[in-house]
Assembly symmetry: C2
Homo-oligomer: 399 residues x 2
């Protein structure tokens, strides 16, 4: 017998008990988020966010020919690599642009091959969950967890680039389970953040994310169930990832995983296949972030709050009615726009940004999960981890 069997199961992921287990503090004034208020959407329709600098920011992703800056880390080779890393993601994002779709970012991926029309009988949700996870991993997923559909995290509306307004959310009803994956980002590139070069870690991971999500959805489709692959579109993915047991929520507003710390990109597949759910994990992140200010201090845009979790909304890009650490997306994005690439300083300086295949990093993680967490943070600081590497040194490194 599974010793878990007599414990309350978190099958209703929307229940207060499930929220408590995940550390969610959702208030009575909670309101679902519309993707239109996402900072990237606002950088198109909202004059408070859109500027010549933000237009230029996007232009650097499309146009290889210009010399954008002559600072180390922002030269032609840096942008050449960054934009190449985005290439496959871009292809899929643009494949149905004629239909006002930007798949993976504003719209879920279109199912390209239909299933067999009848469902494979499922032995049990536990067996199917195990098989889906095993399959996801050989298809290239680094981390996989499963949770239930939760309307609260679904965008009320999607966003149309063409009309610059809201359009209907299109994830069909009845897809009651969500397979959440996290893909690790290259640690070496991120050492050079902020730089166009470090942006290659973002793009390369999205590209892997894309192909793995498409493959997992196709696998489920081939078994006769419905499955929709989704990356940044359709829903807030961090609450789903936390409930699916992939990690804890960090002060910088990012998911912190046991295996890669905050160095991940997340995607999901909605499906009606019966699948057992995972439970949230705790390994000390909440308590560490309570006393750590590495990201707050490291952020040049001062976008990351240093105080307690709160329900404060900096602006319309924050979600209403959840007590949590909340970043200021306007300040964050303005910094991106000003430097012509994305920024991952908060990832670089986070004490959980380690290579956990090393025993000392695992020992550090263990220590950080004990009452000696302040010692762990002190060791992290004196150890010098998290310092920026000059981008030209990344290029010079042998092999």
């Amino acid at each position: 017998m599974d010793p878990m069997d007599d414990q309350p199961r978190a099958n209703d992921v929307t229940s207060p008990a499930s929220d408590r287990e995940a550390g969610f503090a959702v208030g009575a004034d909670f309101r679902r988020f519309s993707q239109k208020d996402d900072i990237f959407c606002r950088s198109f329709w909202d004059p408070e966010v859109r500027s010549d600098r933000s237009d230029m920011f996007y232009e650097t992703y499309r146009t290889p020919k210009m010399k954008w800056r002559s600072v180390d880390g922002f030269t032609q080779r840096d942008y050449a690599l960054r934009n190449a890393s985005w290439h496959v993601t871009d292809i899929f994002a643009e494949l149905r642009e004629d239909a006002d779709r930007r798949e993976g970012f504003l719209d879920p991926y279109t199912v390209m091959r239909e299933g067999p029309g009848s469902e494979l009988p499922v032995a049990s949700p536990e067996t199917m969950a195990r098989e889906v996870k095993r399959s996801a991993r050989v298809l290239g997923a680094d981390l996989v967890g499963i949770t239930g559909y939760d309307e609260r995290w679904m965008y009320t509306h999607a966003y149309s680039r063409e009309t610059e307004t809201e359009k209907p959310q299109e994830i069909p009803r009845g897809l009651d389970n969500v397979v959440v994956i996290a893909q690790s980002m290259d640690k070496g590139l991120l050492r050079t953040a902020p730089s166009a070069l470090s942006g290659a870690a973002t793009g390369a991971t999205y590209s892997r994310d894309t192909i793995v999500l498409l493959a997992i959805a196709q696998y489920i489709t081939n078994l006769g169930y419905r499955a929709v692959a989704s990356m940044n579109d359709s829903a807030l993915v961090i609450p789903l990832a936390i409930k699916a047991g992939l990690g804890e929520y960090g002060r910088h507003g990012l998911l912190i995983t046991r295996e890669f710390g905050p160095r991940v990109r997340i995607g999901k597949v909605f499906t009606d296949m019966p699948l057992a759910h995972d439970r949230p994990v705790r390994f000390g992140v909440r308590e560490v972030c309570d006393v750590c200010r590495a990201c707050t201090d490291g952020c040049p845009a001062k976008a990351i709050a240093g105080g307690e979790p709160s329900t404060l909304m900096h602006n319309r890009s924050n979600i209403q009615g959840i007590r949590k650490w909340t970043t200021d997306a306007e300040k964050c994005f303005r910094f991106w726009a000003n430097q012509n690439t994305d920024c991952s300083i908060c990832v670089r300086v986070c004490p959980y940004n380690r290579d956990f295949s090393e025993w000392w990093s695992r020992a550090w993680r263990w220590l950080a999960g004990t009452r000696l967490r302040r010692l762990a943070l002190w060791l992290d600081r004196v150890g010098g981890r998290g310092k920026r590497l000059r981008p030209s040194l990344w290029w010079d490194a042998a092999g």
Copy 2:
């Protein structure tokens, strides 16, 4: 000073000295190969190869609905996973089907985004080679080597599915360098070969191959040079991989790498960027294959010769005028067609099919490179490595 500097450089990859270094025995009667004679092309136009079974073989890749067989490893979940693993590769292969193109298999990938129109000045071919390799690796390449363009390995013609005849080879002239990559295949899946399940290792690796090749070509394009990404189309890739230093040629006709043994898929990017070339590597494969018959004995189709390297041509799918170990592609493919999936038994049983992150595998590789290679092979046999795992056990394995 580099101690290699006073040795003869293999800059002319077509020279007899370069061939000798790579272990190539190319005769005066050598003739270039036309892709039309490739066994997969023949399975469409050549009644000697095409059959109801081969048509059915291809059908299993496209149609998820039918129960193809009820044998373990060939059930719906196995085909569901195999076909999902091919999904992204298929999307790219079919993207320009209207133009009679099957990119990655019969035609090189179309360049989708143009470069800046002027070339980044190159410090030296050595520097550029280092930067391209470093970039390729963060874009997802497992192994990268560089060699020169060699007309001998280019297909005389490409093959048109639409007309079932030859069509012109389209790699433009002047792309004098070739970046060759190898992607590792999942070892666990291959333990179940032959099975539809183990075919997922093939598809998943092609999918990774595809996105990495596209990204590398785009990186070079973004620097202002010409670059064409190519997978199984346009040229024989094994001779290119050997000259690029990725591994040695094995008795089964596959590349054997130091890092993953024969467990790789290979792709290439043709470019005019000035790049220093790598040199072939030797680590004892030739001598091991001389005395080993694991693949010959393991092949149920008896497609792998047990004798000395020869110039024997089993049929028109062999290349003329090279003394080498030569497999019988007709027998090999007939076995694939009969079992409704690809076969990787020769990969599974190859003594180099090991996980070289384990110290004992590295020790074994070292031993196999010495005069004690027969002892190494004996240890391999008594150790039981290479036995088939029942596919249902793969599914049952935890996590």
